[in-house]
């Protein structure tokens, strides 16, 4: 046989490729590292322990390629992985040992599940022969984590590692993202396997996203074109589907006012003239009230959470509802819809765009403006430009807006400060609002901010935390100190569990059961971790303090002593209609 030179080169290349493809014999623990590297992972959060030690031994050897960040509690590892995932759009990775290490991941898994965040958690497990024997640090983490994971699996043989880990990353990231937990017995970490890694491109029984149905899109377009008072509510589906541009085009072409759910925040410039604000319990006045006055409600990537809808029996009953959604299980789950447009938001909106007519909806938009003016006079002005002596949370957020020029990533915890921050923080860029929306996990912000900063080193990351939630994961200051993670931490301290106190004031005749906190010296604590820290108690000092914090190249802690018994308004009392939102 004769080959020309080109053929010879191809042949050589093929041979080389085949040799490379030939499996290497390595330990399961080393295989785990190679799988992570093959998935592009360069950063993981975790905590070592007995049943995961073989993997940590490999992490030691691969530390030039894979950074492991030792959080001070496994819950912190999950939230850091979530923050990283939310800001970067990549899969966050957390690792823990068996038993208590694994059970400490549960809150983060539940949070990631309800907020559709792609994370992969790897836990060590007792050796295969000890399973079910109540061995030291044995817990059935697969059983425990089942309701709070998109998928989970227990590996008991080293040979399963490449395929299962590939599947884990694929499932976590594809379709509607979510958390995946892989439990790996210690024998599978020690045993050897012939290592060959291939990325997962599909799972037989799993369809990540339905293909868009043109007919449904046409029906949606027809309703939108005929509508006189159409209204868009968008959620995190827009961010996860990277459909921000399509949403903007849709809004600008049709002139339809658009509001966001708390997780949809930052998908659209907060200063966009058609961005009318937030829906939900502490959302804006117009967006809530006018939900019950629109004629077509266009829901994009939202799941009609009860905090958004209030009483379902009185929610948008007058409107035709169109639901753009990737997850078929969300259709008609809470709100019965007239047109369901299944699929990835980017694809479906792209198909919708040419079918919708140019419009202005001037009179309808003016109704939102009118409601905003009412809300501004009654609530907003007093929140962000207060004249009373005590500092408000709103004015702190306003100062951060000014100093950050709307470019920062804002990470919030749960409670009053979260609602105030999400109401008033300004965003130009998507993936900038990181908060625990669905689960409402106090303690989320500090570790999530660490992950967010490490996932977007070129961006300013500000954690805004209440004095309650801060103390739930305060130990993660150790990570900030050890790795010099330049996050900015603002504790809005009112010496109360403010949101619960507010409910007690409004609905339990001011019986403040266990909501009054005697707090430590937060500045000293930060300084104990060698983090620059400052406390502000007076309005005149606020601006300079925020400016100094934002100018710092290092981690910075700022405690702001705010009014102790302020309430967040507007508010839809639990179970009430969106129309019955209270301005005071």
């Amino acid at each position: 046989m004769h080959y020309n030179l080109g053929d010879m080169e191809t042949l050589k290349a093929q041979k080389k490729k085949a040799e490379e493809k030939k499996a290497k014999r390595i330990s399961g623990a080393e295989a785990i590292i190679h799988c992570l590297l093959a998935e592009g992972v360069d950063l993981i959060y975790g905590y070592p322990g007995g049943a995961i030690m073989p993997v940590y031994d490999e992490l030691y050897k691969f530390q030039d390629k894979l950074t492991h960040v030792l959080t001070r509690h496994e819950q912190g590892a999950t939230h850091a992985a979530q923050g990283y995932a939310r800001v970067s759009g990549r899969v966050g990775v957390a690792m823990a040992t068996s038993g208590p290490g694994a059970t400490n991941l549960v809150t983060g898994l539940a949070d990631a599940q309800i907020d559709s965040t792609p994370i992969v958690c790897i836990t060590g497990q007792v050796p295969r022969h000890l399973l079910g024997s109540d061995a030291f640090q044995e817990t059935d983490i697969v059983g425990i984590s089942t309701p709070v994971t998109k998928w989970n699996y227990q590996i008991t043989k080293a040979s399963e590692i490449p395929e299962i880990l590939a599947k884990a990353f694929y499932i976590a990231k594809s379709g509607r993202p979510g958390p995946v937990l892989i439990d790996i017995t210690k024998n599978a970490q020690f045993d050897e396997l012939d290592f060959h890694y291939g990325k997962c491109t599909g799972v037989r029984s799993y369809k990540p996203a339905p293909e868009p149905d043109l007919k449904a899109i046409e029906q949606a377009a027809e309703l939108i074109n005929k509508a006189e008072r159409p209204y868009i509510v968008f959620g995190q589906g827009v961010i996860l589907g990277e459909a921000e541009e399509q949403l903007k085009e849709l809004v600008e072409k049709t002139g339809i006012p658009a509001a966001w759910t708390i997780l949809g925040l930052s998908a659209m410039d907060t200063d966009h003239p058609l961005n009318v604000g937030m829906v939900g319990m502490h959302g804006n006045y117009g967006p809530n009230v006018l939900t019950n006055e629109c004629d077509v409600l266009i829901a994009i990537g939202i799941r009609f959470d009860d905090r958004v809808t209030g009483n379902l029996d009185t929610y948008a009953k007058q409107a035709k509802v169109i639901h753009f959604e990737i997850d078929p299980a969300e259709i008609d789950k809470n709100v019965k819809v007239d047109v369901a447009v299944l699929g990835d938001a980017k694809k479906t909106l792209q198909l919708l765009l040419p079918l919708v007519n140019q419009n202005e909806h001037t009179a309808w938009r003016a109704e939102f403006d009118k409601k905003y003016e009412e809300e501004f006079a009654t609530v907003i002005e007093k929140d962000i430009h207060p004249t009373k002596p005590g500092l408000t949370m709103g004015e702190v957020i306003e100062q951060i807006n000014i100093a950050s020029k709307h470019k920062a990533v804002i990470v919030t915890d749960v409670g009053q400060h979260q609602m105030i921050a999400c109401r008033y923080a300004k965003f130009k860029q998507t993936k900038s609002n990181i908060t625990s929306g669905g689960l409402g996990t106090m303690g989320f912000a500090l570790p999530a901010a660490i992950g967010a900063k490490m996932g977007a080193m070129n961006r300013e990351v500000v954690a805004i935390v209440g004095d309650g939630g801060y103390q739930m994961t305060i130990q993660e200051l150790g990570v900030i100190f050890q790795h010099d993670v330049p996050v900015k931490i603002v504790v809005l301290n009112n010496d109360h569990l403010g949101m619960v106190r507010q409910w007690q004031e409004l609905f339990f005749e001011s019986r403040y059961a266990s909501t009054v906190m005697t707090n430590p010296d937060f500045v000293k604590i930060a300084e104990g971790y060698h983090i620059q820290a400052k406390r502000v108690e007076k309005r005149k000092d606020l601006k300079d303090a925020v400016t100094e914090m934002m100018a710092s190249k290092h981690p910075y802690f700022l405690e702001v002593r705010v009014e102790k018994e302020d309430n967040v308004f507007p508010m839809i009392p639990s179970g009430a209609s969106v129309s019955d939102i209270r301005l005071k």
């Binding site: 059983g143 089942t146 309701p147 227990q154 037989r204 029984s205 799993y206 369809k207 997850d327 078929p328």
Partner: protein, 176 residues
């Protein structure tokens, strides 16, 4: 919406832990599983869960949506009793002496169209396949004589309409 009987059929991969995942969906909504059967299906390597619930159609539909969302589930359906052919099986263990002391038992065996699975000196076992009410009737007929042990299986069902699982699997393969 009124509560009624629904049979949920789930076609899935045969994997450890899926039963836990599926039962959790019922648990989370405080809905009782009236009967459950897991077996192989008409398709190789595909398992079939047959779950019977007594609830509203709205809840059943939502449960089916959640089940179908699980990674290892290929497809889930729900049907009313009218839409399916369904059966249950039961075993009755009865003292052998009664066969001679209580001749009426022989009539019950004949009328119920049950079969004798085994007989020994101590006991004999009757097997009955049929609708729930037929098994209940037989149970009521035998109870006065004394039943040593009784067990009834979960409902098994085939639908009157076609189950397009093969097509769905082909579609999955195409999109992979």
């Amino acid at each position: 919406m009124e509560k009624q009987w629904f049979t949920i059929s789930v076609y899935s991969e045969n994997s450890v832990g899926l039963l836990n995942r599926i039962s959790g969906i019922f648990l989370k909504r405080h809905i009782n599983i009236e009967s459950l059967n897991v077996s192989k299906s008409e398709i190789e390597h595909v398992s079939k869960f047959t779950i019977v619930v007594f609830t509203t159609e709205d809840w059943t539909r939502k449960i089916v949506q959640q089940i179908e969302k699980q990674i290892e589930v290929i497809k889930a359906f729900y049907h009313t009793d009218e839409e399916t052919i369904y059966q249950e099986s039961a075993l009755f263990k009865i003292a052998s002496g009664l066969l001679f002391d209580e001749p009426q038992i022989q009539n019950v065996i004949k009328e119920s169209k049950s079969t004798i699975v085994t007989v020994n000196r101590e006991f004999f076992v009757l097997a009955k396949t049929g609708r729930r009410h037929e098994i209940d009737e037989m149970h009521d007929d035998l109870e006065p004589f004394g039943i040593m042990q009784f067990v009834r299986s979960g409902r098994i069902t085939v639908t009157k309409t076609k189950m397009p699982i093969t097509e769905i699997l082909e579609e999955f393969n195409l999109t992979d």
